[in-house]
């Protein structure tokens, strides 16, 4: 069972917040899902390497040449708040 403190800690890492009933519900759901996926722990897989890629592809390289990219205007067009060609955010902490 995942504790309430653990749920709050994970939420902080994920930049999410839950309140009241919601916290309890996530605690319940996460505990059930983690219990389920934990069944993998019973397997002896010590001889197997972890998969990095399902279809083996290695060292994909290309020439490092400048190519056209988005204009500053296009890159900023969807931002909630912009000033002088830059993204504006609230003050840091």
């Amino acid at each position: 069972m995942i504790t309430r403190d653990e749920v709050e800690h994970i939420a902080r890492l994920a930049r999410l917040s839950f309140e009241g009933d919601e916290l309890g519900r996530y605690q319940h759901d996460l505990s059930r899902i983690i219990d389920y996926v934990q069944t993998l722990g019973e397997l002896d897989l010590s001889g197997l390497p972890p998969t990095a890629h399902a279809v083996q592809v290695k060292n994909v390289l290309r020439a490092d040449e400048p190519r056209p990219c988005l204009t500053q205007e296009a890159a900023l067009a969807n931002a909630p708040l912009v000033e002088a060609g830059q993204f504006v955010v609230p003050r840091i902490g």
């Binding site: 996460l30 993998l40 990095a52 988005l70 067009a77 909630p80």
Partner: protein
Amino acid sequence: MDLLSLTAHDCRELLASGEVSVTEMTGLYLDRIERIDESVGSYLLVDREGALAQAAAIDAKPGGERLPWEGVPIALKDLLCVEGLETTCASRILKGYRPPYDATVVAKLRAAGLVFLGKLNMDEFAMGSSTENSGYHVTRNPWDLERVPGGSSGGSAASVAAAETPWALGSDTGGSIRQPASLCGVVGLKPTYGAVSRYGLIAFASSLDQIGPLTRDVRDAAALFDMIAGRDPMDCTSLGLPAPVTMPDRTDLAGLRFGIIREYSGEAFEPGVRAVFDSAVAAIGALGGVCEEVSLPSVEKGIAAYYIIAPAEASSNLARFDGVRYGHRAEGAEDLLEMYTRTRSEGFGQEVKRRIMIGTYVLSTGYYDAYYGQAQRTRTQIIEDFRRAFGHVDFLISPTSPTVAFKIGERTEDPLAMYLSDLCTIPVNLAGLPAISIPAGLSEGLPVGLQIIGPHFNEQGLFDVSYALEQRLAVHDRPRTAEVAS
């Protein structure tokens, strides 16, 4: 004109013969969407103006200059970026987002001259198996409006089944093309990992995601796959196909061996689904194919491995939604951290938050090897089991989904029950293999799909055997609900 029986190939012929103009054909689909989509709910956005403008431009060109598929309409799952057209991934957090560029698959379809009808509903960020997790509205199964269309590409499958488009693109991370195709009675292909560029696909789990076609028949699937496949410098995981796609015309299965996956039987499978599957096995035999049971013990661990790997990748991919560069931003936050936290808590739906939490948990300090490492080793074992099986047989078969379409609301309270919908499809993504779901028959009036899995980059083989089976099984049933049949 009976749109319910019209394939994209039929549309192409009608346009080529000059019987119907592109504007008329586009209008037929737009009018049908207007008439029935209130009942079905396939679309998040219908681009009537854009589609008609595209159609008019094609009609204005001299006929001889047309490309083969020019003027045939299509609709797109709402996680594919279309320049200037709102793309939300069915999430509130991306409301109003207008991508500044086309996804590679969209650019390819644009170059081929296809007309874009609009954007299709899905589970938010493709996380779900019923399209009930959309941040906007549910989509209903055209065969029974009280039931789900499957997911996450539920809008894509429902729109094709209800003839609100001749064909559509979806994406498949754990079954999200094949399962809704099965539940809605259409064809759905999940290509080999790397066969189709993911550039401009809003990412869920990057080591598993693939874009693919949902169509009315196998030849349409082959044609649409041919249009979107290939190496793209913008996606370094993409690879070229070994050979160009040819239109399937095989009518027998002589000399081919099919493995029935032993682990996919038992109480999770509805008797009606099993009966349709058995009739498909008989059809393979009648066409000269040989079926034998094979065992892939590790596939039973597929769901557990998937629900570590996919959320882990998602928790990282979805970190970009922070209210700074696009989408929703919470109002009135005092500082940056509060802005991030409130933006994400307000913008993401329940299932997305659940998966971000699982992913963050399994990747957090002290747990990495126990969960993620162990899941990736399980993945290696699954890949090995498939490799061993393909040493004996040419294709593997199973039901696509253990059940027919379930009732809206039936599984929303229990995330694990929902996850089990993808029992037969998930291991295929973990192994990066291609697989197709084709309609195999009905159980109690609802469609049942047959899944055929092939070795890496053998999409051609899947098309060939699916085509032969499609002719033999001859499933010509169409949804008969009053709203859709009208």
